[in-house]
Amino acid sequence: MAWFAEMRRRNVFKVALLYAISSWLIVWFVGAIQSDVVLPNWTETFTYFVLIAGFPIALWFAWTYEFTPSGLRKADEVDQTQSIVYKTGQKLNSAMAVLVVLGVLAVFGQRLLPKFEFLVPGIPEGAAPVSDKAPAEIRSLTLSNGLEIVVWPDHDIPNVAMYTYVRAGGRNEYPGITGLAHFFEHLMFLGTENLEPGEFDRISEAAGGRINGSTSPDVTIYRDWFPKSALETIFQLEADRFQNLELYADAVQSEREVVYSERRSSVDNNNFQKLHEQVQATAFVAHPYQFPVIGWPSDIESWTEEDLHRFYRTYYAPNNRTVVIVGDVTTEEVFGLAEKHFAPIPAQPQPEQVRTVEPEQVGARRVVVKAPAQAPLLHVAFHSGTASDPQTLRMSLLLDILTAGESSRLHRRLVEDEGLALSVGAWVDEGFDPGLTYFYLTLPPGGDLEGAERRLLEELALVASEGVSEQELTKARNILLAEYWRDLATISGKTGALGDFEVFHGDYEWLFNRPADAEAITTESLRQVAAEVFVENNMTVGALVAPDDEGVE
């Protein structure tokens, strides 16, 4: 009993009670804040752990030490006659009274504690579009860590599309790590510190979601399509893999094999890609656009773990990403979830800019690929502009005139009238750096490569000298307008269109200016772009022929 009385004298029980009351208040406080937005997920568990661990320490402290007028002393060393434990006890009583009052106030009137509110920011509203052409319900927001988010609520179907653009692609690679950006598109499904390989997909699909990814020379895009009921699940999954990716050695090795398999079917056993890879590598001598996005085989074999870690840290940081969400959501719920799950991910230093500028080409280049083939292929590429260069929209309209549909110039002349080709197509690269305008023709077996090339170049020269007709321009504008509405007919089309403009043009609102931009283009400006780009010195020609074919030089 003497021991019990001594415990009482040393205020051990009061400390225990005070500790309990304080703990209860802290837990309540953390819970209150976390249910809103500011703390990471593990905070609550962590708090419990600290508080429970601290309890015996507090008791031991109360028993061992004692406050005296000269400071903290070991209780055993204090002269009992000088002891002020009684006063300390009174202070503890007062503290407990204050905390109890605080607690009651807190629980029965959270709103009565305005002093906490600065810690609990409301959900940001985001910025509305400036242009009156853009739908007024769109909102955009940049989180404190630099992550950009664009939301377009659309309640047509009970689904959501969420695209994450990572500003990392083939252009961020160098010899030795080619294909790495594309490999990440695979790695990002292969497990995190919290989820084992395969669990990401399992959780997403079990919630009704579907995913994929794609890599270009400029960006890697991660796409989620899911029912609205899965919204927070997808936020959790995406937040997790963008901060906790784990490189499990076995999974990484097996995935190298998968990428090899992808390379085999999409390049090695595919004549079109086989030739495209060589033309790309020939057209660019300095800029990393020369690397195949899937990577050179030797590099696929030899990326190191350090390469992977560095790439992830640098390019997968929130300040290097843009997230676009369209579908059956409200901006409030999306921004709330973004603050909760995405905002805690720390920013990283901005990745280094790609410094290399492709020097001007000063003479035509040629590359020949020999491969088993019944049908020869002809590719012709010219250096052109960036996505946001005004020239690129003009080129895109011009290519519609030249190759879109069976009424297009090149199809009519080379395919229908002259039978030089089985098909002809073209695209213009729309990237961060100046890319290519690219023509591709499939010739009939035994076809005339020289003749096809000559006729193609004649037609391009004709555009550069004579231009196009007003009717042809109207047709190209109509094709663009129909494409525009087709994109806006689905939530995934809207997501991709918003994302492309936000990332490559710097502002999603430009999307809604597209029809007007096309309207403002003249036939003369199309002639000019043809005259600037379709120049022999600016050209790379690739031909794919069977090994025994002697018909090409």
């Binding site: 047509d156 919290n194 079990a206 579907r210 009921s229 699940t233 190298r256 088993p372 009939p444 129909a482």
Partner: protein, 466 residues
């Protein structure tokens, strides 16, 4: 195990309990049937200024005789080569110049014209559609050009990624002389044999109002559109010949292997299957759940084991083709030449595992959620809806096929799914194999799968010459 992981697992345990009961209901529609048998189905939809159109002529590739495979497809493509007052060039110009799309293809059991127009061009849409069907030019010169180009395109396709051709070889090898075995686009040799008269006969015999269904969805006035369509088609003739009737293909007993030699290929493509089910199969929901879990999504058994765990392939699927009579079931994949046998063995082992073990309740719920969650985007646009309405009508199904589907998926019982697995999937002892690759390197190793027949990829057909 960290806190986040615990939390995620908890969240998903909660989600895993019940299927999200969320179906899709087709919109209300106008249904018109003319005296000559032509059917129109229309729905207004005005979210964007577009009109989607699908027209179907029942018939398709099954009307082609064995030696004339590709005729129906060629006929369909000829519909784009000039009609009414427009020759091929001006027809294409009329479509392209307004930014529209309008194309015709033939499938196994119907010819399909599908298109998308800006709303302001609705009149042109009806005009072009009526011209295509009622007054196609079917010019002899265009026919010869298209026929030869299609044959060349097949040769070019054999140089490219063979994923698209694997199932053509597969169906030809499985169904043999049955119409379901005919390559829809023909082969180089059958195309060569087609004559202009065949084309004209096909038009008279198998194309007419009694085979036609037109579905339009989008930004237009339905009443006015019905009047226009009626005026355009009410006096059209019927098809001269009845649709051919044939027996359901019998499932294959035992095994046989077709090896298609592509010298120098670094990769082997394979198709392993047997006769499956028809679209009228009574337990469609149960089968869809089973097939989704077996090889219809990324975390399916096949992808998980063959791609994610073993790294043997970039893609593997379990494919069900469901026409009016039982079609094909197949496991389709590809792998590097050296792992041909490993990959095939694993595929067979997984088929056995499917039939023996089936799926637990948690997976079944996951499969249901996946199907239901991915269903609404498939019927989101005017074009998708038009295509769905036309497909239902051509197949003789009503809208309950879509409207009741969500509930059927959500309500499917585990024992019924397992019963479907035992009856709809073949035993590994009864399988037909198509293996395309470098024969020299794999010939001996694949002999263990059954008696092997060999052909070269350059042979101008998709099945070995008898």
């Amino acid at each position: 195990m960290s806190a986040l992981r615990t939390m995620l697992v908890l969240v998903f345990a909660g989600l895993g309990g019940t299927a999200l009961a969320q179906g899709v209901t087709l919109p209300e529609y106008h249904f018109v049937e003319l005296d000559n048998g032509a059917v129109f189905i229309l729905t207004e939809k005005r979210d964007v200024p577009l009109i989607g159109v699908t027209a179907k002529i029942r018939g398709g590739a099954v009307t082609d005789s064995n030696d004339k495979s590709g005729l129906s497809r060629l006929f369909a493509e000829m519909l784009e080569k000039g009609a009414g007052e427009r020759d091929a060039g001006s027809f294409a110009e009329a479509v392209d110049s307004v930014g529209a799309r309008l194309s015709a293809h033939s499938g196994l059991e119907s010819i399909t014209i599908s298109g998308e127009f800006l709303a302001r061009d609705a009149d042109l849409l009806v005009e072009l559609l009526a011209d295509m069907l009622r007054t196609p030019i079917l010019s002899k010169a265009e026919f010869a050009k298209l026929r030869d180009r299609n044959a060349d395109l097949l040769r070019a396709a054999k140089d490219g990624d063979l994923r698209s051709l694997t199932s053509v070889y597969g169906n030809a090898w499985l169904f043999g002389e049955h119409p379901y075995g005919n390559p829809i686009g023909g082969d180089e040799s059958s195309l060569e044999g087609l004559r202009h008269d065949d084309l004209l006969d096909h038009y008279q015999d198998f194309v007419g109002a009694d085979r036609l269904v037109v579905s339009l969805v989008g930004d237009f006035d339905a009443t006015e559109m019905i009047n226009q369509l009626t005026a355009a088609f009410s006096d059209w003739r019927r098809a001269a010949q009845p649709l051919p009737e044939f027996d359901a293909p019998a499932p294959e007993q035992g095994r046989r292997v077709l090896l298609v030699d592509k010298p120098g290929a670094t990769q082997t493509y394979f198709w392993v299957g047997n006769v499956g089910v028809a679209y009228g199969y009574g337990q469609r929901a149960e089968l869809d759940i089973a097939n989704t879990l077996f090889g219809g999504r990324f975390t399916s058994l096949l992808v998980d084991e063959m791609r994610t765990k073993a790294g043997l392939t970039y893609g593997v699927r379990s494919v069900l083709v469901r026409p009016s009579l039982p079609g094909s079931f197949a496991i389709v994949s590809y792998t590097k030449t050296e792992s041909t046998v490993v990959a095939l063995d694993l595929a067979l082992e997984l088929l056995t595992r499917l039939r023996v073990e089936g799926f637990d309740d948690e997976l079944i719920t996951s499969g249901k959620n996946y199907i239901l969650g991915q269903f609404p985007p498939r019927l989101e646009t005017a074009s998708q809806l038009a295509s769905q309405f036309a497909a239902l009508q051509a197949a003789g199904l009503d809208e309950s096929y879509i409207n009741d589907y969500g509930a059927a998926i959500a309500g499917a019982a585990s024992e019924d799914i397992h019963a479907v697995i035992s009856s709809a999937y073949p035993s590994p002892d009864d399988l037909v194999f198509v293996i395309i690759g470098d024969a020299e390197l794999i010939r001996d190793d694949i002999a263990k799968y059954g008696p092997v027949t060999e052909m070269a990829i350059t042979e101008p057909r998709f099945r070995p010459q008898p």
